[in-house]
């Protein structure tokens, strides 16, 4: 063993040893490169490139990334196809599920949080049994100037335009089948779509902006029961959305989030 090693590092070693040495250096270089490549996955995590909205029941972010086995079973059971798997830009989050609420929010069409039941590793915590217990983030009126209700305006037509592919379960249309939002036009005097389509009881309401009864302007107020599903963000007809979800945010008492 020691002889082999010393031969390996002698400059005038025999051709066999020279080839052995070259192979060993090559092996070390490739091993180093592969470990290095795998560690690149740290960059998006450390730099916090993305704060993703995770599916219902997701445990603490770092634990979520390690517990997830990247199989996409949650993707497969979602009736509105809200869940997507991340690409290499998410580093160690490659293959980990997330939701882009503006594109397709989770509207709890499945009632029983199917993604949680599908998760084989507990990355989506099985401790939850109903949608009211979910905590994905908190909705916030991020662009108040865009809010139609705050301008006292109503809304007519398809919430996100005729070409929008997003789905939503309208209880009045079909209890079991989510339908295209584009095929479900609205006609409201004061825009209240975020309140109307919120799947959680009492999570959001409209409040008058002044004491004047003739003032039609209203402002959405988010309440503590908000689970951060992002339905309001998806349905908001303003562009960009007046209301968005702060992923992973938690409710802090006394904070006027609306």
């Amino acid at each position: 063993m020691t002889k082999w090693l010393s031969n390996l590092f002698q400059p005038d070693a025999r051709p066999k040893h020279r080839e052995d040495r070259r192979r060993l250096l090559r092996s070390a270089a490739f091993a180093g490169a592969l470990v290095g490549a795998s560690l690149l996955g740290f960059i998006p995590i450390v730099k916090r490139w993305r704060v993703r909205l995770r599916p219902p029941g997701a445990i603490e972010e770092n634990e979520f990334l390690s517990a997830c086995i990247k199989c996409g079973q949650c993707v497969q059971v979602c009736p509105v196809k809200a869940i997507r798997l991340a690409d290499i830009e998410d580093g160690f989050g490659l293959g980990v599920p997330h939701i882009d609420a503006r594109v397709q929010a989770c509207d709890f069409s499945c009632d029983a949080v199917q993604c949680i039941l599908a998760c084989p590793t507990g990355a989506l915590s099985h401790d939850l049994s109903k949608k009211e217990e979910v905590r994905m983030g908190v909705a916030r009126l991020s662009s108040p100037g865009n809010c139609l209700a705050r301008r006292g305006e109503g809304f007519r037509g398809a919430a996100r335009g005729a070409a929008f592919p997003g789905l939503h379960r309208y209880l009045a249309v079909d209890r079991w089948k989510p339908v295209l939002i584009a095929e479900h036009p609205y006609d409201v005097e004061i825009c209240d779509l975020c309140v109307r389509e919120c799947p959680i009881e009492g999570a959001i309401s409209l409040a008058p902006v002044s004491d004047d009864p003739s003032d039609k302007r209203r402002t959405p107020v988010v309440h503590k029961s908000c689970v951060g599903c992002g339905m309001c963000e998806m349905i908001c007809p303003a562009e960009p959305a007046a209301i968005t979800v702060d992923s992973r945010a938690t409710w802090s008492a006394g904070e006027g989030r609306a």
Partner: protein, 323 residues
């Protein structure tokens, strides 16, 4: 050292050694083969064999069917709502039963440091299944990267035949070192570090859920295999292969070597992805008349179909006793 331990160490990177002791039965065969008549007979048989140009792709064809069907089942289960195997190769549900890829499950357990009942059930089921089916048979009968790598290997051999590229081998211990590194990294960082570069997970998810940028990494690996190092990933890197290799060490499904008909031409070692497991086919390397091929064997059957004298064959240990 027992042959079992030897096979295990060879899988981890040790060079196979020439045996010092032969069994009496092996001694008789070796002496007969080494005698003047034996040598003349071998020469004649090799000449006849070269004449006949024997060729078969029986096992390869079945393997390719298996890889395509299994991966297609995953895709159709989601895309066409067949719901037979839901999930990806890393973890899935087969008609409702949890299944988890052993290496992915290991990474998750090391990183997350919790044992979850569903994952334990899934890992146990898969462990049993691949123990029964031959361990690294996962590689050659299911893994989608293996199929792409086989095509890359064909290109490599074609180019090498024309002298355009040459194979740059690595030390086989590289895989063991990387395996240990990824275990330590998962434990230390709390992330499933290996999954970030696993072409198996990337490919499986791409088939099922649609193309991703991560496929560029898979392409890069294939280019290394075509132009620089034959079967680079499967031979010297893949921790998944090693995990299944550990299981395969104990599996009843084996390729068995028969010394007596062997002409020691080495055709098997030329086609084999892990030729170190076939060291006993070299003259003077077999210490018995019948030898089980070691743990690293992927049960791909290439050696079985290329051997003109049927010195290599599939065997299921204990099945003969059972029947």
């Amino acid at each position: 050292m027992s042959r079992f331990v030897e096979g295990f160490l060879v899988m981890l990177g040790r060079e196979p050694e020439k045996p010092t002791h032969l069994t009496p039965a092996a001694r008789i065969v070796v002496d007969a083969q080494g005698s003047r008549e034996g040598k003349a007979r071998r020469k004649k048989l090799i000449a006849e064999e070269r004449e006949s140009n024997y060729r078969s792709h029986f096992w390869r064809n079945w393997r390719w069917v298996s890889i395509i069907v299994v991966n297609l089942l995953f895709v159709l289960s989601y895309r066409a709502d067949v719901q037979l195997v839901e999930g990806a190769l890393t973890a899935s549900r087969f008609v409702g039963f949890h299944m988890a890829d052993l290496n992915s499950a290991l990474q998750v357990m090391l990183a997350y440091k919790h044992l979850l009942i569903n994952l334990v059930i899934g890992t146990g089921t898969v462990l049993f299944a691949w123990w029964l089916l031959g361990g690294r048979s996962f590689c050659s009968w299911v893994c989608p990267y293996h199929l792409l790598a086989e095509i890359a290997e064909m290109l490599h051999l074609k180019l090498a035949g024309r002298g355009l590229v040459s194979d740059h081998t690595l030390h086989r211990g590289t895989r063991t070192a990387l395996y240990a590194s990824f275990v330590v990294l998962a434990l230390a960082t709390g992330y499933t570090v290996f999954e970030f570069i696993s072409p198996v997970g990337i490919l499986s998810r791409a088939f099922i859920y649609g193309a991703s940028l991560a496929l560029i990494w898979v392409l890069a690996l294939l280019l290394i295999e075509i132009f620089y190092s034959r079967r680079f990933w499967c031979r010297y890197v893949c921790p998944i292969g090693l995990t299944y290799g550990f299981v395969g060490a104990f599996s009843p499904v084996k390729v068995v070597y028969n010394l007596e008909p062997c002409l020691h031409e080495g055709k098997c070692r030329q086609v084999c992805m892990v030729p170190h497991v076939l060291s006993m086919t070299r003259i003077g390397y077999a210490d018995d008349v019948k030898i089980d091929i070691g743990a690293d064997c992927t049960r791909c059957g290439m050696c079985v179909e290329v051997c003109p004298t049927k010195a290599l064959s599939f065997d299921i240990k204990g099945l003969n006793k059972l029947l």
